[in-house]
Each structure stands twice: as structure tokens, then as C-alpha cells.
Symmetry: C2
Subunit: 356 residues, 2 copies
DNA sequence: CTGTTAGCGCCTTCAT
DNA sequence: ATGAAGGCGCTAACAG
């Protein structure tokens, strides 16, 4: 096939339309400074000549671009896919393109990617979490580029952030578990230090159990892998070495793997053991029993983050730090909260009235 | 915070190092033409001055970039995430950045994205499937940019392709089902025309059943949504209106939703009804019974595609069209193939000996 | 090995 | 409303 000899540039169009280069530039960008008549004609000719702008040239001239960099830990988790979806839609309609990176939870990799991305003078950069390589922070702090940190929350963001409070999420789970009377909780997570948010949630649970029950929380840390599988395997080793009456999971996928393991081990949920997930994924809606979990507003998070970031790009003031609410969703994988109901009604008091 | 006054450029470094701009350019790019002594010194100064290259300027000068565009239907499917992972790793280490798009199965959206992307003179473009807007094809055919079509297969790719034969996959499922003696098959899919690959697989199943059993295949097409949920819902309406003895699913996630539905409806799998998935996802490994499915090599597909594409970018000859193998994995969600085993041993013959 | 020259395609600025 | 001149930062191509 005849591969296009040479793409046309605005100069070619200017020559064809018998106008100056500037008129073409203005016409194409849609800025004022050309009569409507001229503009229409120029655009017609541009279309006929299959004109395609050169973003590099434009970017060089204006010292920025319509690229937005997005760094995620991984694609292998619906959670980030959903956040991403919410953002991409917003950016896409605003004319931005997404340069995406997956760090696999490696801050060095993130740093290298940020470096490469900055060379494109992107319109903005989005990072997952608030835990980055110090040089990444320095680099971004020193640049005029808007930065959004998403999913986690901090009082000291690089620029702006939208997320949830993972420690509080852990506390929420802990409070609920305590209110249901659980005594020997466990948490199936990822390798230590791998995911700061996971660690924060575990700390939240621990805080509550240590304060209100003086009980430890056993942490199981299966090796990395598919979430369903790590949930399954983590539970298996956990049950082999301990006798928890409740297992909390890093997320719903792992909780599902855990449920399958309990079933395989002949344990009945919630009679023999309780299970709590995290995120409130759609997966849970098809299960025969409703999963106790914490609902996170992932899509909203993506949309909110994108909106705030766009505002910042356009110089409009916006909230620098936004925390999204969490909602504990009691299900059938934990024991019913009869006692708790009674307590609420004031029949008797328990340790619950102590905490927080 | 003091936001960097003005990023340094190679000219600044040249001045500092007391050499010409070109020496700096060569030193930084790592090309020959500078003495090692000079290079070392230049790099040291560059680091000290926190030099950061300007990709737009480079791109403008050399008329290409190290951006690679990747278009996927959606993130909401592990399948594409896995393919993407395989690719990204390869590209990343080769120094490319990924500009990613999700079309949500809309060819117009894909076209618009391709247009925007082309303005960056990317090193390559990757599209999912072989079914595109005609203008997308024209645009890409006319450009000198390498194009990879992935996941599906065609004899007439835009440029090169790596994928599987979805029609053959359907036939594989059909053959297996026929060999197990199923008579009233159904297929739970997506809305008609939404996903060409889904349609191709259905056709493959239909071909086999019509040839070897003169039996139709009922197609259920639940509205779009979460795969687990659509699998569940599609099965529900299917069972309300028909009495299939086998349900094939678009993918393992939907098959899982279907299994949950069967359970909810009081049907025993595989005694009352058979279930076949697609892809061989890790999810299946944690289920109490092994899912009958077709294994696809998604990660390999990503890696192979990336490798071939890199070769093409570098002008090295590579295979233009690669089909990856499929493997039917018999599981416990379809009835055991005793009869079939007997047939293999030659005890008696059946319609099986007719086809193919 | 080193430096000079002349763009790459577009946009800002300043004339008219 | 229109156009001319100059530059964005970098790199081929050529000259020493």
C-alpha cells in the first residue's frame, strides 16, 4: 500500500488556502482572530488534505502537553481498574490522553516512570497512594505540574489527594467485629511492607482489638499471586497453625478465596468462623451468602479525583485533600448481631462503650 | 515551595561544561562521538543541574517518539489486564511509555483515540481485535507506524497480529460437548454485535452442534454489566425459558456467576446441567469443583505480541500473523466422559466419527 | 572526536 | 482580522 508520502502541516494548508500560517493555526485551534468565513474554508481544506496536527511541535512551543500520567500498583485488581475507569472517562472527554504505568508496588519503578513522564511535560500526574520514593516527591514538588494522589489519604500531599482513610477502615472492621463478640481475629494480607494501605488497615483492626479486647490480631501473609489463590492459601496455612474465630481479608477477592478454603476444610461460615472482606465488589452479589465487607466508592473516587485535578490544571481553586466515606456492610459471613441490637436498645452494656 | 525557576536544557549544560551542544546531546543519548572522559564529565554536570530531557523537542526533531499506544475494550476483565501486563513489561524495559485507551467496545471511540495518538507520532499502536472502524484501518494502513492487532486473528491484519482463533475455540467447545453427549446446549454471551469474538465462538459451537447433532444452540444475551452478575442473570432468564442440558459461557467469570445461579435454582452441576467456561483463569483453581474450560495463553500472547512489535519497530523481519494454541481443560462441571473413553477404545462408534 | 548550521512544526509576540 | 519574525529544545548532516 502506498504509505503516505509526507504528512501535511499547517504551512501546506496555508499555501492551499492562500492565507498565512497563523490564520491556519488559529482556525484549527478554534481561537479567535479569524473571520468565520475564512475559518470554515481553512477547515475544509485541512480535512481534504487529511491534516493531522503534530503534538510534539505544539508541545514544544507551548511547553506543556495534553498527556496525563497515571501510575497504578497493578491491573490485576478490579479496584484500580474501577478507579481508573472513573478517571479516564473524565479525562478523555476533556481531550487528554492517559499514559499509564503499573509499578507492581515498587517505588523505584515508579520513580523511573515519573522521570520519563516528566520529559513529556504532562498536564498532570496521578499516583496511587501516598508512599513514594523520596526523590519522586522532590521531583514533583519542584515541578509546576499538578499531582493527584489517589486511594490513600494524607495531610501532607504532594499537591492534592482524594482517597479513603485506611486506618479508619481497619478500625471500622475492628469495631464491628468486637461488637459481634469475636475474640480471636486474623488478617490475611500481603507480604509485610508490600502494600502500605494493607498495613494501615491491619493497624486499625489491631488498635481496636488491643484496646477493647486486649486481644492480638494474627497476620497471615501468603506470598504474592492471584488474589483468589492467595486468599485460599493464606487461609489454609492460617487454619493449620491457629484457631481464629474471625478472618478479615485485604479485599473481597481474597475473602472469596478464603470462603472456598473454609468450605474445603469443612468449616461452616459463619457458624464455625467469620469472614470479612473489603471493597464491596460486585462479585459478592452473586454469592449464595452475603459477604460482610466495607464498601468503598471507587468509581466516585476516580471521578472526583479527575474533576479536582482538572480544576487544578485550569487554575481553578479546589479542595486539596478529600476523604471519601466508607460504609460497613454487615452480611451473612459474620454472626448475626443480636447481642449488639440488644445493647443498642440499652438492655446491657459492654466493652463497646469504652473505645474511641 | 520554590518551584524550579526554569528547567535546564542541554545548552545550559554545554555552557557549564564548556563544550558544544552536540557533545552534550551525544553524551546524554549514549551515542558515539564523544570521548569517554568528556562524556563522564558532561553526565556529572547534567546530574548536578538536574537536567531533564524534553521529549517533545526530541520527538519533533526525529519525527517519532517512544510512546506506544494500546487500545483495549475494557479494564473490567482480567483477560485484558493479563495481556496488557505481558506487553507492558516488555515495552517498559525497552524504554517505551504506554498510552492506554479503553474503547468500551465502541469503534468510533477507538477511531478518535487513534487520531489523537497519531498526532504524537508513536513508535507503534496496538489494537484489540481485528474489527475496527474502516477509517481506523485506512488511517493506520496509510501511516508508516507499526500496528499490532492482538487477541483475535485474521489473515488480513493491518500490519501484524497475534491472537487465537475464536471460531476454532467455539468448535473445540462444541466437539467436547458433543463427545460428552450433550443435546441441548446454550451460550451465555453479551448483546449481539457487542463483541465479535464472542459471536465467533458461538458460531463455532453452533457449527459443530448443527453438523453433528442437528441441534440449535440457544443464545442468552444478558445486558452488559459486571461479568459475575451477567453470568448469574443470564443463566437465570435462560433457565426460566428453556431447559438446556449444557451452558457455555463467554468466560470463566460469567461461568462462575452461572454456577452460583444453578446452585441458587437448586440444580446440581454436572448432574442436572453442565457448565463450560472460557480462558482458564486462576479463579477456577479455588472453586470446590474444577471448571471445564478452554485455556488461553494470555500472558504469552502479550509477551509475544510485544516482542514481534519491537522487532517490527526496529525493522527486523517478524512473523506477520501468529495464532496461539488453545487447550480444552475437562473439569467436573461437565459430565465425565466415560462413553467417550469407550468410544476411543473402539467398543462402539457414534456420530462423533462423522465431523471434521 | 568536536563543533557549526539548519531545520523539525507550531505558537507567541508584535506589527499592520 | 491578518501576517511576519523569531524561538521552543533537540538532533541530523555536514565541516573541521
Amino acid at each position: 500500500m502506498s504509505r503516505q508520502s509526507k504528512p501535511s502541516k499547517i504551512e501546506d494548508i496555508a499555501r492551499m488556502a492562500d492565507v498565512s500560517i497563523m490564520s491556519v493555526s488559529r482556525a484549527i485551534r478554534g481561537v479567535e482572530g479569524v473571520s468565520e468565513k475564512k475559518r470554515a474554508e481553512i477547515l475544509k481544506i485541512a480535512r481534504k488534505m487529511k491534516y493531522m496536527p503534530n503534538s510534539a511541535a505544539r508541545s514544544l512551543a507551548v511547553a506543556n502537553s495534553n498527556l496525563i500520567g497515571i501510575s497504578l500498583p497493578t491491573f490485576a485488581a478490579d479496584v484500580f481498574a474501577e478507579i481508573l475507569n472513573g478517571m479516564r472517562q473524565t479525562f478523555d472527554t476533556a481531550g487528554y490522553s492517559s499514559v499509564i504505568d503499573t509499578t507492581e508496588y515498587d517505588s523505584e519503578a515508579e520513580l523511573n516512570w515519573v522521570r520519563r513522564l516528566l520529559s513529556w511535560q504532562p498536564a498532570a500526574i496521578i499516583l496511587t497512594g501516598t508512599d513514594h520514593h523520596p526523590e519522586t516527591r522532590d521531583l514533583l514538588k519542584a515541578s509546576p505540574i499538578p499531582v493527584l494522589e489517589i486511594w490513600d489519604h494524607t495531610d501532607d500531599p504532594i499537591d492534592i489527594c482524594v482517597g479513603i482513610d485506611h486506618f479508619q477502615a481497619g478500625q471500622m472492621i475492628g469495631e464491628h467485629a468486637v461488637s459481634l463478640g469475636y475474640q480471636r481475629p486474623a488478617f490475611v494480607s500481603t507480604p509485610r511492607g508490600h502494600d502500605k494501605r494493607a498495613d494501615a488497615r491491619l493497624e486499625g483492626i489491631r488498635r481496636v482489638f488491643s484496646q477493647q479486647r486486649a486481644a492480638p490480631v494474627i497476620a497471615a501473609r501468603p506470598p504474592l499471586g492471584n488474589a483468589f489463590v492467595t486468599g485460599f492459601e493464606g487461609t489454609k496455612t492460617l487454619l493449620a497453625n491457629h484457631a481464629p474465630d474471625l478472618i478479615c481479608y485485604l479485599n473481597d477477592h481474597m475473602a472469596f478465596g478464603g470462603l472456598m478454603c473454609c468450605q474445603a476444610e469443612g468449616l461452616s461460615v459463619p457458624d464455625d468462623i467469620g469472614v470479612i472482606g473489603f471493597n464491596g465488589l460486585d462479585l459478592a452479589t452473586v454469592l449464595p451468602i452475603k459477604l460482610t465487607t466495607v464498601r468503598t466508592l471507587r468509581r466516585l473516587m476516580g471521578i472526583t479525583g479527575a474533576r479536582n485535578l482538572l480544576a487544578r490544571i485550569n487554575g481553578v481553586p479546589t479542595e486539596l485533600s478529600k476523604i471519601l466515606p466508607l460504609e460497613l456492610q454487615p452480611g451473612q459471613t459474620t454472626r448475626p448481631q443480636t447481642d449488639n441490637d440488644l445493647m443498642k436498645k440499652g438492655f446491657f452494656r459492654s466493652s463497646q462503650s469504652l473505645g474511641r
